[in-house]
Symmetry: C2
Subunit: 499 residues, 2 copies
Amino acid sequence: MRGDGLAGGEGGADRLGELIPAALRGMAAGIAERGGPVPAGGPAAVAAALVAERGELVSEKQGSNPVSHSRPAAAAGNGSLPRRGIGAEAALEELSRLLAAGSADPADPACAAHLHCPPLAVAVAADVVASALNPSMDSWDQAPVASELEREFTAGIARLCYPAAETPDAVVTTGGTESNLLGLLLARERDPGVRPVCGANAHHSVARAAWLLGLPAPVVVPCEGDRLLPDALAEVVTPRSVVVATAGTTNTGALDPLPEIAAVCRRAGARLHVDAAYGGMALCSDALKAKLAGLALADSVALDLHKFGWQPVAAGLFAAREAADLGALTVRAEYLNAGDDTEAGLPDLLGRSIRTSRRPDAFRMAVTVHALGTDGLGALVERCCATAAEVATLVENHPGLRLWGAPELSTVVLRPVVADETGDDELVARVRRALLEAGTAVIGRATLPTGPGGTDQLWLKLTLLHPHTTGDDYGPLLDRIAATAGAELVAGRESPVAS
Amino acid sequence: MRGDGLAGGEGGADRLGELIPAALRGMAAGIAERGGPVPAGGPAAVAAALVAERGELVSEKQGSNPVSHSRPAAAAGNGSLPRRGIGAEAALEELSRLLAAGSADPADPACAAHLHCPPLAVAVAADVVASALNPSMDSWDQAPVASELEREFTAGIARLCYPAAETPDAVVTTGGTESNLLGLLLARERDPGVRPVCGANAHHSVARAAWLLGLPAPVVVPCEGDRLLPDALAEVVTPRSVVVATAGTTNTGALDPLPEIAAVCRRAGARLHVDAAYGGMALCSDALKAKLAGLALADSVALDLHKFGWQPVAAGLFAAREAADLGALTVRAEYLNAGDDTEAGLPDLLGRSIRTSRRPDAFRMAVTVHALGTDGLGALVERCCATAAEVATLVENHPGLRLWGAPELSTVVLRPVVADETGDDELVARVRRALLEAGTAVIGRATLPTGPGGTDQLWLKLTLLHPHTTGDDYGPLLDRIAATAGAELVAGRESPVAS
């Protein structure tokens, strides 16, 4: 195939049926080649391997014609795109192999650094059809039924967040960062002089959204145990505040005390947005949803189904208690939502996003929910949280490790005891990098005010989003962390400037 | 399969190999069911069909247990998500069929309203691997080789836009809307008092970006022939302006006179951003790239490969002549790009976007370019532009239609002569809606100042992004437009409030 065949229309499914196996062959080969959670050697090795592959690719394909225009540009690294192609199958199989071999694969339990989930096969398969038909969600005539399916799905999400509200609504975003921006934007549109207020535990996107929107930097409220202190909030909140609380922090998975925070906001007449990007989908679990008590008191909520929800990035959602608040996003573009078209019954989609062209991410989310049900998704959330509890117990009982605290969701925060004994935070960072460079594990880091007098200390963290593991899958990793800390301690003593 | 199998890791490729055929079966069935470019009946019919399908789905799956919790919620339309799932294959096949049957498929030549391309099968196939491995582009340890591949690809795009610049750079965006926002944001970070200036032909996202960023509304410069007038620009531009020019307008595909505009900006000391979301990939064609002369004089450029580039949405790019300008996006988040990690050699990716979690859209773009080469993509751009020229000739020779002007890219703007004879703009809008409702064609609309004394008139437009058509494919559509205009004229006379 020359490579210019279309994915949609008549014959589209057949063309995909021919090409996707080439991509999957490459992917399977690359996964086997990697053989661990992440390629070994760190950034330099990965970059060098890519350059080497490029060279081979060029000499293989070019054969006896080394001065051809087709690939030397990219191979030489001068930044040019290749002028001539190598065909669809070859490009797919080669680059898919490269990507798989060089990826940090969250489907490997030892890849546990971030809120970076292993996607469900059903979501990935659904995305094929969304990509092939390419509905763009900015006008009805580009997305007739896709917009209906999105409405149905976002209505369900709005109802999940706001079971008793009269007119809840939700829109699809690129993730928590955009959802948090919408939370501040809606507040700004009600009061141009609004001032964001958030906990010291808030995601960096809150401050970044304030910057983007031209708002003052957030007032930062202190935390205890990585949870915002309502009394401290009460001291700074005003009727012109938009408060951002967090339901599942990035550092520890802690949940802010939402009922208390909502009460403080209500008394002050302040607006409340909750960043539940991590914790929100615990609403699908009868056993866990009590953790989110008070969420429905927020004016708006951020939710990410590319965390708990097992979607490929992006699968962000933004829910508002009152649909009318989303009116702030209204925009008119004659070619997309002319007044007379809207009057004639064509739905106006443009005000459902700050983007224009927009991928139907709701489709794969909807297929996933129809496949598993919210009960099924809730069970996977429960599994991750149970695994985290098991791992926390293993940490507590481990002679070489110290536990930060009991996990609220699926994050386990720990520290090698040798770091405490030596007071060496840099050692903690080196352990993480050593495991990454060895290709044996991808673990995270968190800075928390646990040092003497509330000073910052560096911790390691495991963010457990693999839905098919138990604590036992992580025992060897804990041993390796402790052993690496010991080795790094020795290495650090021998050569203090090492690494 | 219960539906909770993972797409990555060992066995992931096999699981996808089992599930994707179910999705493609549903897609092929839905395309056959639709039988045209768009489902007939308009929004009400599409919504009703979805409700009916839901009912059938429930009674089929529930059998003798109509009060089960599993689907009645969604079926009853009360906005709840289904608690119990129906399994992966069933959900995929059913919903893929629904989506395909209810889509406006840009792979049908009669679906020609918008800059809404039919994606290439190779791009869709590549996306499967990107989704399955789920690299998130916000930190190296989530995207080791994916970040290298992105760097290689964006370097190539930067070089395409700026062949002679010393340090060009480019980043991936969600589309022209985000790229235009970045153009204004970078200007704002150099001068908080910057004022946007754009042509009356500019995309609505320019004004929207100014609003989001807290900047004043753009100063709007008049156009002639849908092209910004450099002399008029010279009258308003100041050293504190950021000028947005357009290389391929949404209405007509016209290209602003970039060299003249760049000269005006240089003389005034103003910054220049070019929205080349539509026209930019003409750079891949030796025959067409002269149209973009002057592009490299811009400080920044927006480019969309989900237009010419045949990628599924989103495939936006933002190129800057000076890499240092992108420093405005720098942000620090301890868990993603701690200073000591960056010093130790871990690349800092967070400053490559205003998003945090971010899908590797560069991967499918890179696979496509490697499959076809830029020459191959350029040839497809040429084909679309040639088809537009052929269609324009057909319009000129058509007794029932009038041509707005010779196409610059692939947009053909036309008007039924009966609308001119009656002065009835509303008739033009009704023709578009009638074709859409009949399910026979999806055509666009454009408001242009062609009326008496420069007043607005409504035109129809065909935006031709199907890379495998010729003018002959559109002859019957032109006849249908003219005939529908005649029919609407009669209907309008019989019942002036109709439609």
